[in-house]
Amino acid sequence: MTENKRILAIASGGGHFVQLLRLRAAWEGHRVTYATVHAASAVDVAPAPLLTFRDVSRADWWRLPLTLLDVAIILLKVRPHVIITTGALPPLLALALVRPFGVRTLWVDSIANSEILSGSGRHAGKVASQVITQWPALAQGEVDHWGSVL
């Protein structure tokens, strides 16, 4: 019997969160908390708790401090053993924040990135325990391919 762990499953809205939901079987039996940008997504994960953060992207970078604050609060609330994310920029901040604390983190690069790894995904290599791509052709060096959500 493996240990029951606290998991933070975190993703931005839209396709990022839809991809995260398709991976749910991976953490069944663990204590999972979800985090995303739309509170209405709670219906998809109940009875598991869902926390929200304010979104940021390269297009509105000036919102970064707000997102950083929200993500830090989520990390303090959940105190995860493991973080799983399907992107994008806000979860990258979460991975960077927990890096000194021995939290195991997995970056699943979005299936949308079929030709090159996403911008955030290329940075994720510096902060995540493991980066995986959903496209076999993009697996290279430290970046593995384990499968895809489709």
Partner: protein, 163 residues
């Protein structure tokens, strides 16, 4: 709704698609058209529209529509496949300021060839295909499980369980 549901995602505006389908709605007054316009500035005058609806309502709209039209975003694509609904998509272009990169072109090329998924090259092509697909939508996407392939999730589980 038994008509056309259009969505451009919640993160960035996509007025080119919204305006094209509003024009299409004006030319097809007998077909109900509803558009989720997100952060766009163009507000439809002929089609019904909503800024952003809760995900449960969104999924209901996709399931009820005869045709689903969207940007080439993974949320739209996976929602269409999970609902077994034909999807006509228009990729966002970086050159027009519609996204940070041209990855929606790559997505359309790599995933858009699946049965039931259709990719429009431009506005005229989008409008023509919308009309054609309503007359004959062809084969819908093959239904898939709500979960990724177990071969994938079992490896993520092993990552979680590792000490």
């Amino acid at each position: 709704m038994s008509g056309v549901f259009v969505s451009v995602g919640s993160m960035m505006p996509f007025d080119r698609l919204v305006q094209a389908m509003d024009e299409w709605a004006a030319a097809h007054p007998d077909v109900p058209v509803e558009i989720q316009i997100g952060r766009g500035t163009y507000e439809p005058r002929h089609a019904a529209f909503v800024r952003l609806m809760p995900v449960a309502d969104y999924r209901q709209r996709v399931a009820a529509a005869r045709l689903f039209i969207a940007h080439a975003g993974m949320g739209s694509i996976i929602s269409a496949i999970e609902a077994g609904k034909p999807l006509l998509m228009l990729p966002r272009l970086m050159a027009l300021g519609e996204h940070n990169t041209d990855h929606q072109l790559a997505t359309a090329a790599s995933i858009g060839a699946r049965p039931g998924l259709h990719v429009a090259a431009d506005i005229a092509d989008l409008q023509a295909r919308a009309t054609a697909l309503l007359a004959d939508s062809g084969a819908p996407p093959a239904p898939i499980s709500k979960f990724a392939d177990p071969g994938f999730t079992v490896r993520i589980r092993a990552f979680i369980d590792a000490p």
